[in-house]
């Protein structure tokens, strides 16, 4: 049974990765998880300089979900290369480094520096973080800027370039198409949805940043619809993310057109979730008599006319 798949020239041993910001840099969980069972690890977003992140409180639980406002706390690209990459190199899985910056130039500088390093297989670009130059509005909500950045980064690397899209836009398919046309090798979605929670005792927002990013099982139906919408319009691989905590969840994403998935928040409840999901998909394929998990990709039995445009109330 074939579980592997490729993006550009890089092979992933199976279709389950762990999502950026939910698995650290891999070393934190070495006692608990055999990462050889993962298709890949996506690192926490890296910026040029280290980032302290936002003040507490950074997380709040919500019904079947959680809000976070980490503020892209990360060690910075130099410390990453020095302290984290050596360990990641030793791991028997594909390493995807996620980049998040606050200006075009910073994105380019970080990618250029990382592209020279040994042991990085692919890049994922987090476009849903604030563009300081643009007054804090994220690139991710501006289609032409996202496309422009994709083109600039494309020119800088031969490695697979995955653009991670924000769901906080009206038509994610426009963004998907735009980054495909600008040379991205794959897209991944969804990043977190803007959300908020209030402590009615103190009348203060629970998060220090007022709003935060919603993740977890609660958002899975939204993520699935966004992935389905994006997969309709692009030919490059789509990586589905959002509330996945079981093989069944992951298979839903494959069926609507995702070539692979990432497991995020579920790692906080059980860091071995990704490995279990990969095993579960394999078992499902065997039971269904498939030769290649790829046969599931886009195998949804639905008539598409009768789709996203439909009224649902």
């Amino acid at each position: 049974m074939k579980t592997a798949f490729s993006i550009r020239n890089v092979e992933f041993k199976n279709r389950v990765l762990v999502a950026s910001g939910t698995f650290g840099y891999g070393d934190e969980v070495k006692e608990l998880v055999d990462v050889a069972g993962l298709g890949g690890i996506v690192t926490k977003s890296l910026s040029w300089k280290p980032r302290d992140g936002n003040p507490p409180r950074r997380i709040a639980e919500t019904p079947s979900g959680m809000l976070n406002s980490i503020g892209l706390a990360n060690v910075g690209v130099h410390a990453f290369i020095e302290k984290k990459l050596p360990y990641l190199r030793t791991l028997d899985t594909t390493i995807v480094v996620n980049i998040a910056a606050s200006s075009f130039d910073e994105y380019c500088d970080v990618l250029r520096l990382l592209d020279e390093q040994e042991g990085i297989d692919a890049f994922e670009i987090n476009v849903s973080c604030p563009n300081v130059k643009e007054g804090g509005l994220s690139f991710g909500a501006d289609c032409s800027k996202t496309a422009e950045m994709t083109a600039r980064l494309r020119a800088l690397t031969e490695k697979p370039l995955i653009i991670k899209l924000t769901p906080n836009v009206t038509h994610v398919s426009e963004f998907a198409k735009a980054v495909e046309d600008s040379g991205a090798d794959a897209i991944s979605l969804i990043n977190t949805l803007i959300g908020m929670a209030v402590d009615i005792k103190t009348r203060k927002p629970k998060l220090s940043t007022v709003t935060g990013g919603l993740s977890g099982p609660a958002i899975r139906p939204i993520a699935l619809a966004k992935v389905y919408e994006a997969a309709q319009v692009v030919d490059i691989p789509v990586i589905g993310i959002g509330g996945i905590s079981s093989a069944e969840d992951a298979i839903e994403f494959l069926l609507v057109g995702a070539s692979a998935v990432q497991v995020g928040t579920a790692n906080f409840i059980d860091p071995t979730t990704g490995v279990q999901v990969a095993q579960g998909i394999e078992a499902y394929c065997r039971q269904s008599g498939l030769k290649d998990a790829g046969e599931l990709v886009g195998a949804l039995d639905a008539n598409v006319e009768f789709s996203v445009l439909q009224s649902w109330l």
Binding site: G21, T22, F23, G24, E28, V29, E31, L32, K44, D52, G53, P55, P56, R57, R58, I59, A60, E61, P63, S64, G65, M66, N68, I70, A73, G216, P217, A218, S245, T265, N267, F268, I269, D270, P271, T272
Partner: protein
Amino acid sequence: MRLQDVRIVSREQRAEGLFALSLDAREIARMTRPGQFLNIRIDHETSPLLRRPFSVSRVEGDTLEILFNVVGRGTEILAGKRVGDELNILGPLGVPFRVEGEYDLAVIVAGGLGVAPFPLLTGALRKGRKKVQSFLGARTAAHLTEKYLVNVHVATDDGSLGFRGTVVQLLEEFWNTEKPAKAKIFGCGPTRMMKALSDFAGSKDIECELSLEGEMACGIGICQGCPVERASGEKKYSLVCVEGPTFNSRDVILG
């Protein structure tokens, strides 16, 4: 660090809304040191979604004991568990209290459920031949448990038992009368109390270790969700789950 399903072998109500559960958790029990905690999966629903962190209160052979207060949905569900039920636990987590050191008298200061980690610490201190004095603060006598502690001094907000006032005020009185030398404070409780305790220790230049609480998602350093501000160093925050929960009071700034 282990992730395992364990069975509840006993359940006891110790005070108002305060419960103790013993878990049969061989490996984890052996590895646990005073001040470390478990991250417990309340049940297998997606809501409550996240694990809940609890200090290990005692270790008896293969069993671990946790002591907790019902403050919300998760602890409410936990309090409803029965002997024989299974729990999935992750632990032991965090940096233990530093028991060794050049002090003779260990002064334990606990506010409310801050008492949880101290039965286990008390045992270790006595093995280490330290004298121990324990100061407990609670809202009322009904909210208090002294079990497994020694030389206990009590303060209650309403004066229903012992000193009427905060446990830190009680501690100050003790200090002014006893003037202990070569002492070290171990504190755990609500943030406001931790701050007062840390100020007291600072003013008297007493070595003081605090066990901090705060929301956590993962408990193992992968979510960056549990920062506490550092007093110094180029890093602005430490992570409570992996760099704590125990900190030297000099190293952290409590909001």
